[in-house]
């Protein structure tokens, strides 16, 4: 294991994380202002996970995402124009405006889909990995899921097959401590989802999900292991969502305290990353600001693109629909 990380990789991870943050903050505002229809589950606070994992993947590698999927999609290369257009339900979106937030997919980027069904991703990722092994194409599938999804039968069935056939898949559990509004202690008897790996014959490890460098190091090992034919890994990233389950302020439920949220915000993954970039003289404060400024402009351009795009024509109602 070599843990040396290049400046280019650090800058790449930071850029991906900032892109997620600014996209999500704006999308959340647009939703709560009634400009984006439906529910958005925002990824703010969890950016280090997507950023740290995705720098190890090419467009050829596949991911499955969750209902909280924008961060995965952006970090995998999703463009703001098509992302916003999809949230706005416009025909220029990744799914021609018919998928919305929870069903964005793009095969060219290896995005096998966000998924509105909790636990919907693991069987798809396992199937993709089965195909990769069968075809000997050297691709890796990465399955993002949450602590809540780890209770679903679909996760256990997928993990069982992945372990049995030593498939090239990495199960990345984003344990943010809540299944929707239910604290983890009220929905499962364990705290470390990684403990479940042993039951499926794969290693399970825990990493600080607020630290992109830590995620990068652990994910690199897991992806290498998968790609070299050694089989799956369960990588549990301890993280936290800064916004509500849905939207920014959500429904104002009292399932967690403000103090708890503020405590986690002290370990904001982007601030932690930027402290390191400055400390190690990888980027200057001006260069960091430039990343934010450029990304903000791209966000505004994405919104403009979406708002100016047409809705799908009613005549296309039954096109691209599988039932």
């Amino acid at each position: 294991m070599s843990t040396q990380i290049s400046n280019d990789t650090l800058i790449d991870m930071h850029r991906r994380m900032v892109r997620i943050r600014l996209f999500e903050e704006t999308a959340g505002k647009m939703m709560e202002d009634g400009k984006i229809p439906g529910a958005l589950h925002l990824y703010v606070g969890e950016e280090a996970v997507a950023g740290g994992v995705m720098v190890h993947l090419s467009d050829e590698d596949q991911i499955t995402s969750t209902h909280r999927g924008h961060g995965h999609l952006i970090a995998k290369g999703g463009e703001f124009d098509q992302m916003f257009a999809e949230l706005y339900g416009r025909s220029t979106g990744y799914c021609k405006g018919k998928g919305g937030s929870m069903h964005i997919s793009n095969m060219e980027l290896g995005i096998l889909g966000a998924n509105g069904i909790v636990g919907g991703g693991p069987p798809i990722a396992m199937g993709a990995a089965f195909g990769n092994k069968f075809l000997k194409n050297n691709k890796v599938a990465v399955c993002f899921f949450g602590d809540g999804a780890s209770n679903e039968g679909s996760f256990h069935e997928a993990a069982n097959m992945a372990g049995l056939y030593k498939l090239p898949v990495v199960f990345v559990c984003e344990n943010n401590g809540f299944g929707e509004y239910t604290p983890q202690a009220n929905h499962q008897a364990i705290v470390d989802v990684a403990d479940r790996a042993a039951g499926y014959g794969m290693p399970g490890v825990i990493v600080d999900g607020m630290d992109a460098v830590a995620v990068y190091e652990a994910a690199g090992e897991a992806v290498d292991r998968a790609r070299s034919g050694k089989g799956p890994t369960l990588l549990e990233c301890k993280t936290y969502r800064f916004f509500d389950h849905v939207g920014v302020r959500g429904m104002g439920l009292t399932y967690r305290s403000d103090e708890e949220v503020e405590r986690w915000k002290k370990r904001d993954p982007i601030l932690l990353m930027e402290e390191r970039l400055l400390e190690q003289k990888v980027l200057s404060a001006e260069q960091i600001k430039a990343v934010h400024d450029i990304t903000s402009e791209e966000v505004l351009a994405g919104i403009k693109f979406a708002e100016e795009s047409p809705f799908p024509d009613p005549s296309s109602l039954t096109e691209d629909v599988y039932a």
């Binding site: 843990t3 290693p203 490890v205 460098v213 995620v215 190091e217 090992e221 897991a222 890994t233």
Partner: protein, 347 residues
Amino acid sequence: MSLSKHAGATSNTGSAGSIGPVGIVANPASGKDVRRLVARASVFDNQEKQAIVGRAVIGAVAAGATEFVYLNDRHGIVANALAEHPHVNARSILEGDTMTALDTISAARAMKEAGCSVVMTLGGDGTNRAFTLGWPDAPLIPISTGTNNVFPNMGEATVAGAAAGIIASGLVSVAEVSRPHKLIEVSIDGERDDLALIDAVLTRERFVGARALLSPEQLAAILLTRADPASVGMAAVGGLIQPVKHSSSKALLLKLCGDNEAQAKHKIKAPIAPGLYTDLHIEDIDVIGLDKPVIWHGPGVLAFDGERERTLLPNQYATLKVTRNGPKVVRISKVMRKAAAKGCFVT
């Protein structure tokens, strides 16, 4: 069976210890980091840790312990184990809310304050390092559930618990069955102090990251309180060339030269983690006395007891010295032999 009836009888022998609660800290995070992936380190799930605490409590109660205090981690490892013993007088001394090493450090301070006669820790070298940060000269019975386990005992928890019970009952004093462990005291200019129990390492990596210390080509220097060829980790690196015992008033300092074979005085193959051997090039090796300062300059990362912990910037330096100011580690076999000699378990 409880042996507490013997406490008064032995108090006249001159070898009785102080009576106080038994402290228990079980680190929920031990045995789960990336070293399960990059090396072949043991996995300790929290059910197993709970079972270990349960066996230790049974042993302690059998030996006469009547009062326990514990760090109530969010996993409920100790609380769940104690729930099976409702007759035991036990209380949480701290709620482990941060889920970080801070919980262990704070619990150590609280246990010192509470006058614990002895503390059982479940974890590896890192867990015990954290405990020592809160209570440097604590009376400890460390039970291994970690990755690098040079410091803790690999023995059976039932017996470790019995030893704790005997000490907590005052039947045997900590002083007669322990010896203060060596400690690496670390000061970093401009920042808070730190410490290590077994090893301090300067690596030329840039980040703490996933903490595991597994890039041998980046290792620049190693300072050891113990160098043991029968161990795993940095203690083995030194131990395979120049063993230094726990009891010795010496420490071992190694300078490494990365991939530069020509500069190496020693080339060794050592297990730097469980199941992971690697070749290392040692430029120099020095046996040094206690209290002798060693200065390491940045840039780099300081690792303590097997985990990257602190970043040293280019203009920073750290001063390290090995002292004998560490925890009083109880020798379980010695406790049990003394207990047997006193007939403590004879009914």
